[in-house]
């Protein structure tokens, strides 16, 4: 590359670097006086006779525009610094870190004067609501692409169905039912015990199975369930003799 081209590239690089510097200062809280305007203007003045291409000239004018923005920032910086709002940032940062959140909130509350205004439905708001409602995709369609179809709805499953699915056989079910009724009788010993503790198995599947079996034991009148209205704790106990007349169906979520 000839020396002349290299020199021109270097000058263009200087201009681009200047534009970047100005942009960085504008997009952060850096002191705008970090940019030496006089020096940068002299650089631009020195380079300008070398520019022949329109694109480079445009870059030069962009650099000039950025310098003007920095001068504007410098003016704002001086105005702010001269105002009573100026406090050394380091001192303030330290103070904020030292005081508690309550003290910070209290400081704000003490000089806060909320705006008093009536909120009302405006014609613009009504139009916005109408457009939103008109363009709202039906709920069934909304998450279709995200989650696919919703599958089958939750339903109840009966013993016959479980037998047909080969999960239980009639004999096995009876044996398990008797076993869990016996276990309940032994554990409760005539007293109330915690329902969730009793049905808890080694894994969620076993817990669900024990819950299912206990539901049959209760339905057959061999045990009863009581929920404490205050703590919402569920108790189970065996029933000696005939069950009472006051029976009702309850649904319990098994996790």
């Amino acid at each position: 590359m000839p020396a002349e081209d290299r020199d021109r590239d270097k000058k263009l690089e200087d201009i681009l670097r200047l534009i970047e510097l100005c942009r960085t200062v504008q997009s952060s809280s850096v002191n705008p006086f970090e940019v030496d305007i006089r020096e940068k203007l002299l650089v631009l003045k020195k380079y300008i006779p070398d520019w022949g291409l329109i694109d480079v000239m445009l870059k030069d004018s962009e650099a000039m525009q950025q310098l003007v923005a920095i001068v504007k920032l410098q003016s704002q910086w001086i105005t702010h610094r001269a105002s009573a709002l100026y406090i050394d940032p380091l001192l303030l940062e330290l103070k904020i870190q030292l005081i508690s959140r309550e003290e910070l909130a209290e400081s704000l509350a003490k000089c806060w004067h909320p705006i008093a205004q009536l909120d009302q439905l405006t014609a613009r708001g009504l139009e916005k609501a109408f457009v939103y409602w008109r363009e709202l995709v039906p709920f069934g369609e909304r998450y279709k692409y995200q989650f696919g179809s919703f599958g089958q709805q939750t339903t109840t499953i009966g013993l016959e169905e479980l037998e047909s699915l080969s999960i239980f056989t009639k004999e096995e079910f009876e044996t398990r039912l008797n076993a869990i009724a016996k276990e309940l009788s032994e554990k409760s010993d005539g007293r109330e015990i915690d329902y969730r503790g009793f049905i808890n198995g080694k894994d969620p599947e076993e817990t669900a199975l024990r819950g299912y079996l206990v539901a049959f034991v209760v339905t057959e009148g061999r045990a009863t369930i009581r929920t404490d209205p205050l703590t919402e704790q569920i108790f189970i106990s065996t029933i000696q003799g005939e069950p009472g007349e006051e029976t009702k169906s309850v649904a319990i979520v098994v996790r």
Partner: protein
């Protein structure tokens, strides 16, 4: 002989009619200020002149005095051009609420603390700070999720302003509702009262 005429009602004096006109304008000013007109609360100076006439500032002063027993005042926020026309007038609480009252308005103590720290820091940094810088600073005092939630909420409500370069500034609502100078003083004074 003619019948005696009933005494005529006294003609209203000039002062009374002036007073009545002022009362009418004060009522109008209150209605204009209390009703939400656009997206942001408040009414600009040129609108006030249109509704109340050229002496609108005097009417607003009277209204502000009348609202004193209700704990309200007419507050003016200078516009970007600094002219009377661009000045925004709004109704606001004359006295600051207690911390407990602020909480009932849906602001948790942590939320208020985030806002207080943000306003103070932005003001100390010449009125602008990058969002990243603000969040890094706040991270030293608040959990990350709280910062994201609160900053977004305050931007949405107009307490903070963020531009396309992610540069945070004080929002119009802070200018209207918060006495920033007092806030800075109070923060600096916190903790010194109990110092031994």
């Amino acid at each position: 002989m003619s019948e005696p005429q009933p005494p005529a009602a006294p003609a209203p004096t000039e002062g009374a009619s002036e007073r009545a006109a002022l009362d009418r304008k004060t009522r109008r000013a209150f209605q204009v200020l209390i009703l939400q007109r656009g997206r942001n609360p408040g009414v600009k100076g040129w609108e006030m002149r249109r509704y109340l006439g050229k002496d609108y500032k005097k009417v607003l002063e009277v209204l502000s005095d009348d609202l004193k027993p209700l704990g309200l005042e007419v507050h003016q926020v200078p516009g970007p051009e600094g002219t009377d026309d661009s000045t925004r007038f709004l109704l606001r609480f004359r006295d600051a609420p207690t911390l407990a009252e602020a909480e009932t308005a849906g602001f948790r103590i942590d939320d208020l603390a985030v806002l207080a720290a943000s306003i103070a820091l932005i003001n100390s940094k010449q009125g602008r700070i990058s969002r990243k810088e603000l969040e890094t600073f706040l991270k030293g005092k608040f959990p990350r999720w709280r910062i994201d939630y609160s900053v977004d909420r305050y931007v949405k409500r107009g307490y903070l302003d963020v531009d396309d370069k992610e540069l945070m500034r004080i929002g119009w609502r802070t200018r209207a509702e918060v006495d920033e100078r007092s806030l800075m003083t109070l923060i600096l004074a916190q903790g010194t009262k109990g110092d031994k």
